[in-house]
């Protein structure tokens, strides 16, 4: 592992957002990942997304599992509480944290090993519960931190650095999430910030579980010729099937849109996602169509990317649990303890 400064986006450092904060205020510790690791680009996109959304950094909770990907929450939002838990179990920690205090913004970072092998069950159940969080799956087809073993997202035929070909079918997080009823599903590429940043912003605004599968090449163990998760392969096969802009509630409505159909989907908080260049037979609010369309793209050898599906009005975990509006952590003890008198009359039932 080398220790170099992470790549910086060439944007004016002094520029301030509505809160008067610069991008630097959204950064974290120095990255210790390999130079060129896709994960670092995702970190930079996360910094940009939060800065653009004017989120107070300390009102974010950032959680992760274990892996190179799991380390990255240390590299953004230095003022936020971070939680680097155990391998594959970030969804449970996030679920408990979110249950206790939904007033914070939750972002979880995971890897393909973390999410699709050891933590597959937890990912599935967080999707089912529609836990309100942005879930970024930094997908490189290998276990980076344990030095390059195949992960469950490795494609059939993709070869390891040593030349061994993977023969087991991959688990595709996008199809998985769609079939489990996920309410926000996207795929992107760490090398395409223009696509990734709006997706992250929409994912943060989404009330519910937002899965963003980001192809994030591992330069050290999976960036070679025969890999299907290399920069080159991804650039060649990554096909944006839809372009989405995120228009925040109070944002300018002045963005220019090219010709062609524009489809707007209103989000829970009043923001909007504008879908452009949508293929004719694609409807990002129709789960069955999206699934079929993506299968077709896959059969054509493409890696379909973009904000692929959203269902903004599905009930999230708190709605299903029927918890009170106020975060549980803010409830005064007096409203939680029934008191001596109530216990005394309850005791009559036990006589």
């Amino acid at each position: 592992m080398s220790f170099i400064r992470k790549p910086r986006i060439p944007l004016p450092k002094s520029q301030k957002n509505v809160l008067g904060l610069t991008r630097q205020d959204y950064e974290g510790a120095m990255s210790t990942l390999c130079a060129g690791c896709g994960h670092d680009s995702i970190t930079a996109a996360i910094v940009e997304a939060f800065w653009q959304l004017d989120v107070e950094p300390h009102r974010v909770a950032k959680l992760s599992g274990i892996g190179c990907s799991g380390k990255t929450p240390a590299y953004f939002l230095g003022q936020a509480h971070g939680f680097n838990g155990v391998h594959g179990r970030m969804p449970a920690v996030a679920t408990g944290a979110q249950a206790a205090n939904p007033a914070l913004t939750y972002i979880g970072i995971s890897g393909d090993g973390d999410s699709l092998s050891i933590g597959l069950g937890q990912l599935c159940h967080a999707i089912r519960r529609n836990v309100d969080m942005l879930y970024v799956l930094e997908n490189n087809g290998v276990y980076g931190l344990t030095k390059g073993q195949f992960s469950a997202s490795a494609d059939v035929g993709s070869a390891s650095k040593k030349g061994e070909a993977n023969r087991q079918p991959p688990i595709d997080p996008v199809f998985l999430a769609l079939s489990l009823g996920a309410t926000f599903v996207a795929r992107s590429f760490s090398g395409d910030k223009a696509q990734l940043i709006p997706i992250l912003k929409a994912g943060i605004a989404h009330k519910g579980f937002a899965l963003v599968d980001v192809i994030s090449p591992c330069v050290t163990f999976n960036d070679h010729e025969a890999s299907t998760k290399s920069y080159r392969y991804t650039r060649d096969h990554h096909t944006a099937v839809v372009e989405a802009d995120f228009v925040p509630l109070r944002g300018p409505i002045s963005a220019e849109y090219g010709s062609g159909d524009v489809r707007e989907v209103a989000m829970h908080d009043g923001s909007t996602v504008r879908f452009r260049k949508v293929a004719e037979d694609f409807d990002p609010t129709r789960r069955d169509r999206v699934y079929r369309y993506l299968r077709e793209r896959q059969d054509a050898g493409e890696v379909a990317t973009g904000l692929l599906f959203m269902e903004p009005d599905a009930p999230d975990m708190h709605e299903v649990l029927g918890t009170v509006e106020s975060p549980l952590v803010d409830l005064p003890y007096e409203t939680l303890c029934p008191g001596a008198e109530a216990l005394d009359s309850l005791m009559e039932k036990f006589r």
Binding site: A74, A99, E325
Partner: protein, 634 residues
């Protein structure tokens, strides 16, 4: 036999799923309402319908709560087990059986009295519908027992009214069935039997409650707002009770929404993760599980210990290892809990002996978890958790306020110097903590990987040791904060005549050991009892061990886990601690404890004469003392 009024035991042998449990509960409750101390043990199979099940009721005017020795009266309603059931009755006892069918030859003894009533036939004659007949047969035997034991019928009728009061037809048929059994017994036998009840007023300030319900109430009163769990016997009823209480006490009156989140997790790993996530965020959160769940939670428990996250774990122990016997009791998780997870870990644990302590220890667990920023275990078991116990009425002090520990407020963070999450500022090993979202200066990175006193990633030996050594000091400090051991000594004797032996025990063994202590006095053996209630051990534990030449350790597992903990934690010579182990899965009775201690002291077996003399040897799966460690040490 001494005066058997208010001092006897009966056992009801039925088939699982036939509705007998509620009838047995009614009997327990009527005895309770007659003011007589009573305890009940539901010995049920891991099965929904069809397997044999037993219910033991011990009536003890003196207030003894341990499992009864051989029953005085057996109610034989399950043909499949009649032979062993009849064999268990003490010589001179009674067998009430359903004479709709013949008792097998091998279920016939000449030293017991048979009381036959054709319950099934009577109910078939009287009632319609096969399910109703089965259910009402239970009420009919209840009626017969009322006649035989002098249960006050109005008390029973009141209870039945409270149970079925809303449905007139059901109520009428229940009353009829009760009468049926009652009249039949009065007509056929000399009622009451010498073993019988007489009204007392011992329960004026008592309640009849199970440990899981009491623990759930403790969680409500402690202000717990997040519960995460995965169903497993015998812990499920704790969360069921918590949900019910939440519906009762935690509903916003205006919106009907809940001031609590109850998450049924996908497994115990997830349940532990959720509890830790919620605790990290500042909620009082807990899970309830049993041994298999504790095993699965291991990795997360270590994380909570090392990253210092308050979390409460109820371990309602059952018989292990592995799936073991899910509906039998044991104290087999003591070591697993004390040092749960890999690496150097050591956990605060509380050991209630009855539902009253379950309630109070649940509250204490949340305070300790937040004060020490660590996982805290409440180690109960199936016997305590699922059986109804007569305990002092639960009371609440409205002056109680949760101990949230050292949590820095926004104002403190604003005013203070740089926050360092894992620095020992106060010299007690307990660092300061911040909650997410409170203040920009409070942010830090929680991790299970190596970290220094400022929560920064480290692989440096010195920085690593600074943190883990401090955590060790912190947990050491909890020894005086956990509930002190209970000491049962003879005040009258005082220091004048020191006891012959010391007995250390834990949890649900309490009743058996305290009663054994009284019986030992009849043999000239004076025993002082110390019951462990918390871990790490209070300093008084060590001094107790040092005080006696011979110390017995009574517990319910095969491998003397409490003894191991005492040896390791108190540094005493293992030869000085003599194990008395009962691990067959049944609640403990006093007899085997007395026998074990007398045998170790080279004294005669007192019970030889009063053993059951049935055709077949009495099965006593719970009473197999294992005494294999050399006793010559003292």
């Amino acid at each position: 036999m001494s005066d058997p009024v208010n001092d006897f035991a009966l056992k009801i042998a039925t088939v699982n799923g036939t509705g007998s449990a509620s009838a047995n509960g009614l009997l327990m409750q009527s005895i309770f309402r007659m003011g007589v101390p009573v305890s009940g043990k539901n010995l049920f199979p891991s099965n929904i319908q069809g397997l044999p099940t037993w219910y033991e009721i011990r009536v003890s005017g003196a207030g003894h709560t341990s499992r009864a020795e051989a029953p005085d009266l057996m109610v034989v309603l399950n043909p499949a087990t009649q032979t062993r059931d009849v064999a268990e009755v003490r010589a001179g006892g009674w067998v009430l059986h359903d004479s709709s069918w013949q008792l097998r030859r091998d279920a016939q003894r000449d030293d017991v009295t048979y009381l036959g009533i054709p319950f099934a036939e009577l109910c078939t004659e009287r009632f319609e519908g096969s399910r109703a007949r089965v259910l009402l047969r239970n009420i009919a035997y209840l009626g017969a027992l009322a006649a035989l034991l002098d249960v006050e019928v109005p008390v029973l009728e009141e209870l039945i009214t409270q149970t079925y009061g809303r449905k007139k037809k059901l109520l009428d048929s229940n009353f009829e069935a009760l009468r049926l059994g009652y009249d039949r017994a009065r007509d056929a036998f000399h009622c009451p039997l010498p073993i019988r009840l007489r009204r007392m007023s011992a329960n004026d300030d008592a309640v009849l409650i199970d440990g899981n319900t009491a623990a759930a109430l403790g969680c409500v009163y402690a202000g717990a707002t997040v519960a995460a769990w995965y169903p497993i016997t015998p812990s499920t009823s704790l969360v069921d009770a918590f949900s019910a209480f939440a519906g009762q006490f935690r509903k916003d009156p205006d919106t009907g929404r809940l001031r609590v989140a109850i998450l049924q997790a996908e497994d115990e790993l997830a349940a532990a993760g959720m509890v830790i996530g919620a605790g990290w965020n500042g909620a009082r959160s807990f899970t309830a599980t049993s041994g298999p769940g504790i095993s699965l939670m291991g990795e997360f428990i270590g994380l909570a210990y090392y990253a210092e996250i308050p979390s409460v774990f109820f371990d309602i122990q059952r018989t292990g290892p592995s799936t073991g016997m899910p509906t039998r009791t044991q104290q087999g998780d003591l070591l697993a809990v004390a040092y749960a997870s890999h690496g150097d870990t050591r956990h605060i644990a509380l050991f209630p002996a009855d539902p009253h302590e379950c309630f109070h220890f649940a509250v204490a667990a949340f305070d300790l978890a937040e004060r020490y920023q660590t996982p805290v275990f409440v180690v109960s078991d199936l016997d305590i958790g699922m059986n109804d116990w007569v305990v002092p009425r639960l009371r609440w002090d409205d002056a109680y306020r949760p101990d949230r520990g050292k949590v820095l407020s926004a104002a403190e963070l604003e005013a203070g110097a740089r926050f360092a999450r894992y620095l020992d500022i106060d010299g007690d090993g307990i660092p300061h903590r911040t909650l997410p979202g409170v203040h920009p200066r409070g942010g830090y990175f929680t991790r299970g990987s190596g970290h220094d006193s400022h929560a920064r990633y480290t692989e440096d030996s010195v920085a690593y040791r600074e943190v883990v050594d401090r955590i060790a000091r912190k947990i050491d400090g909890a020894a005086t904060a956990v509930p002190e051991p209970e000491l049962v000594v003879d005040d009258a004797l005082g220091a004048e005549r020191p006891a012959t032996v010391g007995v250390v025990t834990i949890g649900g063994c309490r009743g058996a050991v305290v009663e054994a202590r009284e019986r030992l006095r009849d043999h000239g053996v004076v025993a002082d009892v110390l019951r462990i209630r918390g871990f790490p051990f209070h300093p008084s534990v060590r001094s107790f061990l040092d005080r006696y030449e011979r110390v017995f350790v009574v517990e319910q597992n095969r491998d003397a886990q409490l003894r191991t903990l005492l040896v390791v934690e108190c540094g005493v010579d293992p030869a000085r601690l003599e194990p008395l182990l009962f691990y067959g899965g049944m609640p403990l009775s006093w007899g085997p404890v007395v026998k074990g201690i007398l045998a170790a002291l080279g004294m005669a077996d007192p019970d030889a004469a009063s053993q059951p003399t049935g055709a077949a040897p009495a099965p006593s799966p719970g009473s197999t003392p294992r005494l294999e460690i050399a006793r010559g040490g003292a």
